[in-house]
């Protein structure tokens, strides 16, 4: 008796009833969905894991080029040939960076979380010191990567893969941030000249595709500068990316500024605080807090957009991938490379968007 009651009142059963089989149509959709998921995931899992080669092919031979891949020896029978990723792993992560110096890049990768953690987490002990490190990090990072006193110089043309993607993304965001605050404040300024300049800049950058800015930086920058000053390609791209990001971030911050009630500024002013004091201590802290979710969204967009630099000949992660696919030894292993790169981007971007959701929830509960 109690068994039959517990079946109908079982929470799993009632969940299934409500969410999967609440009506005839729903039931059919559920069955079709299950079938669809089964087909897709079994195909995908087979291809990526169960029937795939990693280091050796199905005969046990080490895979040194495409012809050794199982699917080339026995077409139609086997899955992905991941050897291309494994063999060329160094290129994907470091580009053409000399292997002996790779420890420097590893050091930068290792320090990166420490540089970012100060921005992301409010309740960190000794947060102040982490933030100082955040501002020092670009210089430390650049020195480690490029070289100079004591370290061998590794020109930016040798950087590639994930290194370039992270370099452009992180440095672009860090440099764009102060610029975007100035733009956002300037756009709300009462002085018409400042306001107009900021509006023109922001609307111009937001109205053109990033690729045109990259072309402009690439082709026009040498024309603007005197002879002898030849900024290298990566830095030109960095300039374009930074300006691009600053305009979008400025709009996100402007949203936050608009949400602050006018009374805050009035209260601060009536206490005798100057404009800059009020902005710095009262308005900006509140505005930035509110704007962090849209700011993180612009950062996700930027991270994805760094892939555009392959069009101007720089070898970011996607660029390295494309080069790998055109390599005669490994030609036509498109799907392996693209799936791998998609996965890397997905991990970073999805992680950032999860963080942004976490922040939004936290802000809601903070403010209620």
């Amino acid at each position: 008796m109690s068994a039959s009651i517990s079946l109908t009142h079982n929470k799993y059963y009632s969940w299934c009833r409500n969410n999967l089989f609440s009506s005839w149509i729903n039931g059919i959709i559920t069955i079709l969905s299950i079938y669809f998921i089964y087909e897709v995931s079994s195909f995908f899992l087979n291809w990526t894991i169960f029937e795939a080669d990693f280091v050796n092919n199905f005969r046990g031979e080490k895979i040194t080029d495409r012809t050794f891949c199982s699917k080339n020896i026995e077409p139609g029978q086997h899955g992905a040939c991941w050897a291309i990723i494994i063999v060329r792993f160094h290129q994907f992560v470091y580009g053409f960076y000399p292997v002996e110096e790779a420890w420097r890049v590893n050091l930068v990768y290792g320090l990166l979380p420490f540089a970012l953690v100060g921005i992301f987490f409010d309740n960190l002990p000794f947060r102040k010191y982490f933030i100082y490190f955040t501002f020092l990090f670009p210089f430390i990072g650049y020195f480690l990567l490029y070289g100079g006193a004591g370290l061998d110089v590794v020109g930016t043309s040798k950087w590639g893969g994930l290194l370039v993607t992270l370099f452009l993304g992180v440095t672009g965001i860090l440099l764009a941030f102060p610029l975007s605050i100035i733009l956002a404040l300037g756009r709300r300024s009462k002085m018409p000249v400042i306001k107009t300049i900021c509006i023109i800049f922001i609307e111009f950058i937001r109205g053109v595709p990033l690729i045109t800015l990259l072309f402009t930086a690439n082709v026009m920058l040498p024309l603007f500068l005197p002879d002898g000053v030849r900024p290298d390609n990566l830095l030109r791209a960095l300039v374009a990316v930074t300006l691009f990001q600053s305009a979008y971030m400025a709009e996100a911050i402007r949203g936050g500024l608009q949400a602050i009630p006018k009374g805050q500024l009035e209260a601060a002013q009536s206490l005798g605080l100057t404009y800059w004091q009020s902005t710095r201590k009262i308005i900006l802290p509140q505005a930035l807090k509110i704007s962090i979710p849209p700011i993180v969204n612009t950062c996700i967009g930027l991270f994805k957009d760094t892939s555009l630099v392959l069009i101007i000949g720089l070898f970011d992660l996607l660029g390295v991938g494309r080069a790998a696919v055109s390599d005669i030894d490994w030609a036509k292993l498109h799907y392996e490379v693209y799936v791998f790169i998609s996965l890397v981007f997905f991990i970073f971007c999805f992680g950032m968007s999860r963080y942004s959701l976490y922040l939004e929830k936290k802000l809601k509960t903070d403010n209620s």
């Binding site: 009630p261 002013q269 009536s270 005798g272 605080l273 004091q277």
Partner: protein, 246 residues
């Protein structure tokens, strides 16, 4: 002769085409408590907001404590240091604790050392009777408590003049008294106060001058006795009948 701390002479203000203050003449002596009332849109808030330059007047002269209020930023800063303002919406800073709210201006405007500023802040918190809330944040306080913190915040700058812009209009009825009590105490200590309010009970207790404004003009100005019992203008009579009868 008690000195005049605020002088408004023929002050006029326009919002675009709308003439919001018309030939305002107002003279406030030290220690006076002036209550300003009138229908909404009469310009009462605008008038007191002109005194600390939250709004700018286009014609006429405003002099506060001997300093004339013009476009000169140094003068504006000086006046704001000496004039405190309490808002209808409290306008506490939500991201700072109560204590930090009060200590902020003394630290950054008067350049006081932090410890000293915090001691002063605590003393004013005690004065408004909520010292135990020092570490809380504004969002955690009731409306009446928030407004009292706002008063303490202005007092911490040691102003000579306090302006109140409808300080109790946004409060639930049961919290109005605690704020009015603080204001009465201030009045008894001799603070020069300009209060825009609808609280006529408070006005009768504390005011030594009543001002009625309508459509941008000061229609009547008199001592409370005369004002309530023997108003001269018809408009004043109408307003009083509306406000005193519910």
């Amino acid at each position: 002769m008690t000195e005049q701390v605020i002088q408004l002479e023929k002050v006029n203000k326009w919002y675009d085409d709308f003439h919001v203050l018309k030939d305002i003449d107002l003279f406030v002596e030290k220690g006076q408590r002036i209550v300003i009332c009138g229908p909404s849109g009469s310009g009462k808030s605008t008038m007191i907001r002109c005194i600390n330059r939250l709004e700018a007047h286009q014609k006429g002269k405003i002099v506060v404590h001997g300093t004339e209020l013009t476009n000169d930023l140094k003068n504006i800063d000086l006046i704001r240091k000496n004039v405190g303002m309490v808002f209808q919406q409290f306008n506490l800073f939500p991201h700072l604790s109560v204590l930090d709210n009060i200590a902020l201006a003394p630290i950054w405007v008067k350049k006081m050392p932090k410890k000293e500023a915090e001691e002063i802040a605590m003393s004013y918190l005690e004065k408004v009777k909520i010292p135990e809330q020092a570490e809380k944040f504004p969002g955690q306080l009731s409306g009446g408590q928030q407004q009292r913190v706002a008063i303490a915040r202005s007092l911490a700058m040691n102003p000579d003049i306090m302006l109140f812009d409808e300080p109790t209009s946004a409060l639930d009825p049961e919290m109005i008294k605690e704020v009015l009590d603080v204001m009465i105490q201030l009045a008894e200590e001799g603070m020069t106060m300009l209060v825009v309010t609808h609280e006529m009970g408070f006005a009768k207790t504390v005011a030594d001058q009543m001002i009625f404004m309508d459509e941008g003009r000061i229609v009547e100005q008199a001592k409370p006795d005369e004002f309530f019992n023997n108003p001269k203008s018809d408009r004043t009579k109408l307003f009083l009948s509306q406000i005193l009868n519910h």
